[in-house]
Structures are given as C-alpha cells and as structure tokens.
Amino acid sequence: MSYKIAVGSSDGRNVDLKFGEVKKFIIFEVEDEKSKLLEIRNVDTCETVADTNGCAGYVGDCNSLGCSGNGSGCNGSTDVINKVELIKDCRCIVCKKIGFQAQKQLERKAISVFDVEGIVGNILEKIIAYYGKIDKHK
C-alpha cells in the first residue's frame, strides 16, 4: 500500500519552513518503504479561495501581518483550510513548526503532524520506518 508525505522545504533538502510559510508542498510517495518525489503542489493564493468559497469575511486576513503577530508567515484561517485541503490525501505532513489550530484541522483529516527540523532524507527515513512497523503489525 502506498502513501504520500507532504514536506515543507524551501530547497528540497532541508525541512526549514513553518506551515504558514509554505508556498509549495513537496509531495513524496512511499511504496514498499521506498520514497520517491511525486510532485510539487503550489498553494493557491487566498483571494481565489475567498472568492470561490464566498467567505468574504476572511479576505481581510490575507497578506496582512497574519493573526496578531503569531509568528511569521501565518496567513489566517483561510490559508490553513486551503493548505489542509491541498494535502488531504497525504498520510502525514513534515514542517519546521505547525500552529495549534492548523494541527487540529490536520487531525480532523487524520493527517499526522511531524513538526521537526532537519534533512528531508533523514526525516523521511524515520517516518517510513515507523509506518512500516505499524503497517506490518497485523
């Protein structure tokens, strides 16, 4: 059974982005405990989401300083929902930091959260070993 892992990385080598800072997710696919780069998913700008969903109340949040200075790159709740939707087929997400509200939204979609810093390869190796053990345990 294959599964996907979403990674927040600016250079593809290091996990160095906070969830809010991610402009594009690197998606890895894991099959038989081997990972390969599947695709890059660009995060839509929040205006379009606001337009399509019609939640005009949230437009004000976009591209502002974020939720009252709660860390850099936080673009409010629309951004979170947008991103969660974008990676909803992934088993887990790896980012440098992920805020509490975003974690809750990810949990609702049963996406595990790993907020760690480090080299993508090493981190993936650990996660894959972990899921491998879970999946093999019948």
Binding site: S112, V113, F114, I123, K126, I127, Y130
Partner: protein, 432 residues
C-alpha cells in the same frame, strides 16, 4: 491468542506515582503519554502537598515516537525544577518512551548537579504492575540517591510495608508498626506520609537494620540495600494482625535487634492483656455461632490474604476455605508464600491460589461449599458475588468503593480489634 483479564486488581508499573506521592514533597515527573496519569489517578487521597494527578508530564505523541522524546523530557525536567518546589523529583517512564528507546537515564544524569535530587525509575507497564513499580521507585532511591554511611545510629530501624494507596490502610498500618517498634525501645524510620520525607530518606543509610513487613513486595530492594549500603534486613512475611501474629512479630524483631527478652515480653503482656480483655467482654458475641460464618475466603494481595487468613484462623478460630492472592506475585516467591499459608495454629492449613482473573475466582467461590453463608473479605468486585450467595462481605483490598479510610489500620493488636469490629458489624447487621 490474546488473553483478557477479568477484574484486575492492580495497575501498570507507572502506578508507582502513588509511591512517589506518598513521600511528602516528592514529585513525579512523567515521561509518558498524556492519558497515562489520568487513567492511573483514581485512587482516593492526595499527597497533602501536590494535587493527585496534576504532575509535570512530557505528554509525548506520535512525533516523539518517531523522533524520540528526550528533548521534551529535558525541558520538562528543567522547567519542573524551576516552577515546582519539591524536595525530590522522580522521573517515571511509561511504556512508549521505553519501547521507542529514549535514554531517560542519560537525560536525568544531566541534573546530577542540580540543587534538588532528580532520579528516575523505569516503570513501563510491560515490566509489571504497580507493586513492581513501587519496588522500582525505592530501588531508584537506593541506587541513585543514597550513599553508604560510615556512622550508624544505634537502634534506628527502617520500616517498609506494602504499597501506599494501593493498600487502603497503608498510612495507619505503617504508623502502627512504627508505634510497636518504638515500644521495644527502637527508633523507627519510615519515608511515607505526614511529617516524613527527604530527611527520613537521608537517614536510611544510618539504620541498624531494615524491617520488611510484606510477603514479597520490597524483598529485592532489601537485598540491594544490604549489598550497597551494608544494612542487614529482617523479613517478616506476615502483616501482623491481632494478638497471635503481633506477639510473634515483636519477639522476632526484638530478637533480631537484640532487645532484652524481659522488655519484649512486658510490652507483649501489656498489649495482650488489653486485647483479651476486649475479646472476653464480647465473648457472647463470638460464641453465638449463628452470627459469624463457618468458613471464609480472602481475595486480596499477598499481604492481606496471608495476614487476614492467619488472624481469622489463629485469633478467631474460623476455618479457611480457599484463599486468593491477586497481586500477580512473581513465581519465585509463590512457594514461600504457599508454605506460610500452611503455617497456622491448630494444625489447620489453608489452600491458596495465585489467581488474577476475577471470573475464575468468582466461579470457585460460587462452587465451594462454605457450610452455610460465606464470609468474603476482598475487593469491591466480590460484593456482588457474595451477595448472590447471601454471604457477609467486607471490602479490605483494592478496588475500594464502599469505604472511606483516612488513617484506619488493621496492623497490630489494635488493628486486629478494628478488623473484628468491621467483620462483626457486617455480620450482626444482617440480623437487624
């Protein structure tokens, strides 16, 4: 095939936070998942200093399983030391960090030079139950904190009994044991309960000997202290309840400590005189054979199963049906304990079963011919089955649901009288 255990009478080793809690101003720091402490904290009574289940906890989650939780543990200890005013910090590990392989010992060793002592006890549930966890905590204190003392205090005796909070009467019992030992002219030293704590722990190495009053809990620790601290130990397997066993107990302790025989006998005489005065006053009640049951069963941990069986046979002259030891006694000790059940007065022998499955115990109780109504002393689980047999039931072991105990006790002469009161209160109330 996985086995289900019906009505278990103990918790996992992490339940040892009760043991830490019983030491005044000692604080457990939990390296475990967020639900562990909550699940284990239902026992009644707090430490009197810290809340019963608001302890610093690493609350480890999936991420820590994959990447290790040592960082979190380090910051939890560091901040606990800053924020909480305690005398002793005991890190207890749950199953998850031990399976994942967190090196708790290494993290704790970073605090070797901190102002207050920080120690750790591996209390993963798969290592055993809370009786084992209790041993692990005392072990940790001996191994990581105590140092051999060059000076010994003449007559100082460390007293160790069964597991605090798991044993409903732990506080009263250990105080009564202290009282008895001090009447022999010795100085008791215990680490649990009111006005005991780090000072008493510091005194442990100076003791003349360790006195262990338990069939098996703590025996390995006594051996460890003998090796490391050079303190010999006296192992009294039976919790003394009532005159017969308490007098035996005092003679044994007196002999071991080198107390003159006359002194021991005068203490015994004084207690026995009063004890039998009370018994005699109520002789009518005891001779009225319609009141009390002919046979009894105790369903409890080794300490109470053995102690109460001896008391009911030797002091009250009742006949034992099958007795049940439900604390999952390690196999190595079982033979010794079985022998003790055969060591009763009037050449009576009690059959004992080391059974942890409540269903099987209840089936055996139902199928035994008690020659009338049974008397069952056990956990709350036995209430229903005893009622269905129209028997008399007394809740003396965990779990306890129909009783509030502050510092009541069953140990010693006075404890025996308390137990008689409790049993006969149940027995006579059925006729009224």
């Amino acid at each position: 095939m996985a086995k289900l255990l019906d009505k278990q009478r103990y918790k996992c080793a992490l339940g040892a936070m009760q043991t830490v809690q019983a030491i005044n101003r000692a604080l457990p720091i939990l390296h475990s998942g967020p639900g562990c402490a909550q699940k284990l904290s239902e026992s009644t009574g707090s430490s009197g200093y810290f809340s019963p289940n608001i302890f610093p906890c690493t609350s480890i989650n999936e991420k820590d399983v994959v990447f290790g939780g040592v960082k979190k543990l380090d910051s939890t200890i560091e901040n606990a030391l800053k924020v909480i005013d305690a005398d002793l910090y005991v890190v207890l590990t749950g199953c998850i960090p031990e399976i994942v392989g967190d090196d708790t010992g290494e993290v704790v060793s970073r605090y070797a030079n901190s102002e207050k002592p920080v120690i750790y006890a591996p209390t993963a549930g798969f290592k055993g139950n809370n009786y084992k966890g209790h041993e692990q905590v005392i072990d940790a204190i001996v191994e990581q904190y105590l140092k051999k003392s060059e000076t010994k205090q003449e007559g100082l005796v460390n007293i160790w009994a069964d597991v605090p909070y798991q044993d409903l009467f732990w506080l009263g019992n250990i105080r009564e044991l202290e009282k008895l030992v001090s009447e022999l002219g010795l100085t008791p030293n215990t680490i649990f309960g009111y006005k005991r704590g780090i000072d008493n722990i510091n005194k442990i190495p100076e003791a003349q000997f360790n006195l262990l009053v338990s069939p098996w809990v703590g025996l390995s620790t006594m051996k460890k202290m003998e090796r490391k601290l050079g303190i010999p130990y006296l192992h009294c397997k039976t919790l003394p309840i009532g005159a017969t066993e308490t007098s035996k107990f005092l003679r044994e302790v007196g002999k071991f400590a080198g107390v003159p025989e006359e002194k021991v006998e005068s203490v015994i005489k004084e207690h026995e005189d009063y004890y039998y005065y009370l018994i005699e006053r109520y002789a009518d009640l005891f001779l009225e054979n319609r009141v009390i049951n002919k046979q009894f069963t105790v369903v409890a941990d080794a300490q109470y199963s053995l102690g109460i069986t001896k008391f009911l046979v030797n002091d009250l002259g009742l006949i034992p049906a099958k007795q049940f030891v439900v604390d999952d006694t390690p196999k190595a000790y079982r033979k010794l304990i079985t022998e003790e059940f055969k060591n009763l007065n009037f050449e009576i022998e009690a059959e004992v079963s080391f059974e942890t499955d409540g269903y099987k115990i209840h089936e055996e109780i139902k199928n035994h011919d008690y020659h009338g109504y049974p008397l069952v002393l056990g956990g709350y689980y036995e209430k229903e089955v005893t009622e269905s047999l129209k028997g008399n039931f007394l809740n003396i072991s965990w779990p306890v649901q129909d009783k509030v105990v502050f510092d009541n006790f069953y140990a010693g002469y006075a404890g025996g009288i308390r137990l008689i009161e409790d049993i006969y209160t149940v027995a006579v109330s059925r006729f009224n």
